[in-house]
Structures are given as structure tokens and as C-alpha cells.
Symmetry: C2
């Protein structure tokens, strides 16, 4: 594509992103100093239409960008906003804070900074147990504590009047050794038949403890999804039918579809999917820009912004690229808050 055609395409896209109205040759030449007349622009637009970058709604309407047109635009932007070497920096910042809480904060700021929908997913690696304890913390109250390899801790409280026969400390030490390095699957396939040799009280307590541990593991194996600003989509003239929006919202609320959307692997950490490039037909009228960060042993984290295909790609791509600014702010705030006055 030659320079002039590209310029005209970019103008059409930016104009349409702003106005949500089809763009005509005359209005372009009036507004932008392209140095050519509307007739020339018309000729170029005709070619652009033939090549599939723009389309018209009816015979004599102005043009609107196609998914292919947006793709050209996004690739052009990607070239200009040159990928910066920030992965390492973000990675370190993310390791410094409690992920779950912070993911929520990040999305809150992504959400405040743009008029679209902010999404996130924390994909945890399968959790392996590092340390296990049963602690007596009050009368008839026992704390089941699991610390994972990645440093996260989880607990359950068991309130039960145990008979004197129950050897809590021995069970605790035994399980600490036994559970080391295990995942949920490991525990599920372990044969605990030997507990039949325990007396009734010890056996009951053992079963209770192991089921609590499995419950904890279960909880920590799920991916966690975050979503903010769904309702923003209601403001766009791009969606005229309530039913369209409903099907998008419904799809957002199904984790299966969200994970397809956010977790499908791409070559680059950063990627933009436009309209029909997204397989799921519920999202066909949306574009989504996403950035995935590898947290090493912890797992992976993905931030994304979804909006109508007519979205301000420049702004969205910028805010996803300057994530470390957002994170910096959050960490600063957190440290500030934790000072005892």
C-alpha cells in the first residue's frame, strides 16, 4: 500500500473511531489537509474498498473500516510504539505484592483510565505443597496450615473437642513429610488405606484434616478471573440491540469463554484481536488487546481491555504498555498505607 492510501486509511479509521459515523471523501478533505481533492480521495477509497480495508453500508454511504482495516492500523501502531524492554521490570514489581489484591487494583485503574471493559486472569501453576502444619491455637481449635512452593499460605480452622487419644503433633509431622511436594491430583491418587490401623478418633480427625487440605488445593487450582466496566459497553452507539449486549455479557459471565478469550496462547506477550479474528462469535463485534506477564513459578497473569472494534487502539495499547507506571503507583500506595501512624 502506498503512503497516500495508507494516510487516507488512517484518517478514515481515526475519524470513525471518534464519530462512529461513516466517513465520506468530502468531509475528509475539508477536515484534513491531504493536499488532494475529494475526487482523488474517492478514487483511493475505491481501491481501499476493493482490497478489503474499508467497506460501505450501502451504495452511496461513506466508508467504515473493516476488521482488516483495523488490523492494518494496529500493526502500524505496534510498529511505532516500539515494544519496550519492560517485562523484567513488571515481573519484579508483581513479585513484590500480593497478587490477588493487586490484580483488582490494576484493573480498577485500567478501568478508570479508559471507557472500555478491563479484564484480567491469574493463571496459577498447579500448586505444590511446601510446608504443612496442624497447630493448636485455642481451646478445641486447630489450625490447618498449608504453605505452597510459591510462598502463598492458606488455612482452615477446625473447631472440635478431640479425645485425648488424638495425637495432633504426630499427625502434623507425619503429614508435613507425606504431603511435601504434592498437588491435588497427587493426594487424590494416594492410597490412605493404612489409616485403617488408626483408632476411631485418630482416623476421623485424619480424614477431616486431609479433606480440608484438598479443599484448599482445590480452591488454589482454579484460575481467577477479574472483570470491570462491563457496563461501559452500554454507552457505545456501536451496539444498538439490547440483545447483542446481553449475549456479550452472558459470554463474559461464563468462565469457559473468558478463558478461551484471555488464555489462548500467542507468540507475543502483547497482542490485539479484532472482531472476527476472535473465534467465539459472541465477541465478534469486540476487539481485545491483551498483555501477558510470566510470573515464573507463580504462574501467569494477563491484563486485557475489550471494547467495540471501533475502539481507540492507540490509547488502549498505550495503557497496556505502560503497565509498570500503574503498578508503581499501586505499590507506592500500599507501602504508604502500611505505615503505623
Amino acid at each position: 500500500m502506498d503512503k497516500r492510501a495508507a494516510d487516507i486509511l488512517l484518517v478514515i479509521i481515526e475519524e470513525y473511531v471518534n464519530s462512529a459515523e461513516p466517513v465520506g471523501s468530502k468531509s475528509i478533505t475539508e477536515k484534513y489537509p491531504l493536499g488532494v481533492s475529494s475526487a482523488t480521495v474517492r478514487n483511493e477509497m475505491h481501491k481501499l474498498e476493493e482490497e478489503g480495508y474499508i467497506t460501505s453500508l450501502h451504495t452511496s454511504s461513506g466508508r467504515i473500516p473493516t476488521d482488516k482495516g483495523y488490523r492494518f492500523y494496529v500493526d502500524y501502531l505496534t510498529e511505532r510504539i516500539k515494544q519496550r524492554e519492560i517485562e523484567e521490570k513488571i515481573y519484579k514489581l508483581l513479585k513484590r505484592v500480593e497478587i490477588e489484591e493487586t490484580l483488582d487494583d490494576i484493573l480498577e485503574r485500567l478501568f478508570l483510565g479508559n471507557p472500555y471493559t478491563s479484564l484480567g486472569v491469574l493463571k496459577r501453576n498447579v500448586s505444590r505443597i511446601d510446608t504443612f502444619h496442624i497447630l493448636s491455637v485455642a481451646k478445641d481449635t486447630y489450625l490447618v496450615l498449608v504453605i505452597f512452593r510459591n510462598g502463598i499460605a492458606a488455612h482452615r480452622l477446625i473447631k472440635e473437642q478431640l479425645s485425648d487419644k488424638v495425637q495432633v503433633n504426630i499427625l502434623s509431622e507425619y503429614l508435613n513429610e507425606k504431603l511435601y511436594g504434592m498437588t491435588l491430583r497427587d493426594i487424590q491418587t494416594t492410597d490412605f488405606a493404612f489409616i485403617d490401623t488408626f483408632d476411631r478418633d485418630n482416623k476421623a480427625f485424619f480424614i477431616r484434616v486431609v479433606s480440608e487440605v484438598m479443599d484448599i488445593l482445590h480452591q488454589y487450582e482454579d484460575n481467577e478471573f477479574f472483570l470491570k466496566g462491563k457496563e461501559n459497553l452500554l454507552s457505545f452507539p456501536d451496539f444498538k440491540e439490547l440483545s447483542e449486549v446481553k449475549s456479550i455479557f452472558d459470554a463474559f459471565s461464563r468462565e469457559m469463554e473468558l478463558s478461551e478469550l484471555l488464555l489462548c496462547p500467542t507468540d507475543d506477550a502483547f497482542s490485539v484481536s479484532i472482531g472476527n479474528e476472535i473465534k467465539n462469535e459472541n465477541f465478534n463485534k469486540l476487539s481485545i488487546a491483551k498483555h501477558t506477564y510470566d510470573l515464573g513459578a507463580e504462574g501467569k497473569i494477563t491484563f486485557a481491555v475489550a471494547g467495540p472494534t471501533r475502539m481507540d487502539y492507540r490509547k488502549v495499547m498505550n495503557s497496556l504498555n505502560y503497565m509498570e507506571t500503574i503498578l508503581g503507583d499501586i505499590i507506592y500506595d500500599k507501602n504508604d498505607k502500611k505505615e503505623v501512624q
Copy 2:
């Protein structure tokens, strides 16, 4: 109001709830065997309109119920579905399970059982600390554990290489005594000036621990809101403008407005607010039915269902009244799941 007028009003309401179309005198007499002609019904409708129970959209349209009409209907239903003595039973059931998780499950079922929006709020009483521990759980890893009066436990993990001088056990015992019975406010107003007598390492660790405790308390003082099925509202022809729905959704996402909606005190545990009876004008086109259960020391819990004023009050009121069935199912499932296979 005489019997016949009431019958006609009820028919109008139930018909309108089903069809979302204004109800005319002729269609009523054709569909329901009232034993009178459409002209008589017309006369009655005229009276009902004068008294404000129904209204017409234009000179020759059928009638639709007003908020006052729905109020009459709901009061009539409340009379018939006689309030059952179930508070005690629910209360006991709720005490048996982990509230937060279960609240989510309950709403999921409320949500599956009706086409409206399900809401819930857990209003915790101000949390007082019962037991406090600092436990050494692994190399350079310390667990700060707070158990509240109401039996809930929360923890934070501190990973830090402490100097030998730090007397963890002494600090733990000291704080266990000191923090007993305290709330967040108590801690905030306590003067910890005496820690200036500690050496540098102990002081730093003490500050770290206390700030973690405050963070825990802070977290447990917030009300927790739950919301499911917002998108259901998009299916109703009652809302024609996307902007209307947007303002409702936006209000739902502001906790202030949600708490006004759910926590405003009423004489009865069970109540229905209809349209303009709700103060917040964002919710003027909605009705909300809610049921509050007192959990004693734990706090209070409210379940609610919100929909268009044209909602199936009978169904909604029933499902809120038969909450103990829902809860029973959930507890059964939970016990079932926890068995070690």
C-alpha cells in the same frame, strides 16, 4: 375496595406481568371467566384508575398497574403466603457453614431459579479479636494469626530474616494479651509509644506485625456485597433505552447505593419495595424483595431479588421465603463433597 374490583386488579396485574402489554377490558373478559361483560369491567377499571391503582399510557390504551397497584398486590400476597416461623431454622443452618462461600452459593441458586437479579450483603458486626498468635512455620517465615470472637480466623505470612535479637514468642504472648477484645478502632487509638524502648530490630518487627493485624481488621470490617444476574435485566422489554439500563448497572456497581438499597432498616425481616418507593432514583423502575436474617454475634445477612416493577412477585416472594430449602441443599452438597473418597 370490593371483591370484584380487587379481582379485576389482580387479573390486570397478572396479565401484565406475563405479557408486558397494556391490558384491555375486552381481552380480560375473553380470557378470564369473571361473569360480567367488558363494559362492566370498563367501569370498574375507570374507578381503579381514579383511585390510582392502574393507569393508561394514552387516551385509548389498555391499563397498566401503577406502583400503588403492585403494592396492593404484594400486600395481598403477603397475607396469603403467611409468614412462617423459619427464622430460627435458617439461623441455625447459616451458623453451620462458612458464610462467605455459602452466600455465593445461595445467590447462585436464587439466580438460577428466577430471571431477575440476585443480591446479597453480609454485614459483619465490628470484629473483636479473641486469640492472637505469631507462629514460626518455616525458615524465615512467620504466620500472624488472628481469631475473632465470632470464630473466623485470618492470617498473614511474614517472610523476613529476623535477627536473633527478635523475641518472637515474647512478642506473640504480649500481643495476644494486649489485643484481646480489641477492634480496629481500638488499635488505632492505642498509644504504642512504649515500643521506643525496644531495640531497633524488635521495634521494626513489632510495627510490621501490628500493621498486618490492622490490615486484617480493616478487611473484615467492610460489608461484603454479592450480585448475580445483572445481565438478566437486559432481557426485559420494560427497559427500552440502553442508557436506562446503564444507569441501573452503574448504581449497582457503587457500594454506597447498594448498601442504601439493601441495608436500610425495615420493621419486618421480609419486605418488598416497589418502583418509586425506592428513594434512589436510579432504581425507580425496579422492585426489590429482600429478606434479612440476624446471625447474632456474627452480624446480619440479607438476600434480595431485584427486577422490573412488572415482576413475578409471587415467585420471587416464594423463593425468598423458602430459603431454608435452598440452604438445606447446599449444606447437604457440602458435606457430601468433603468425604474423602
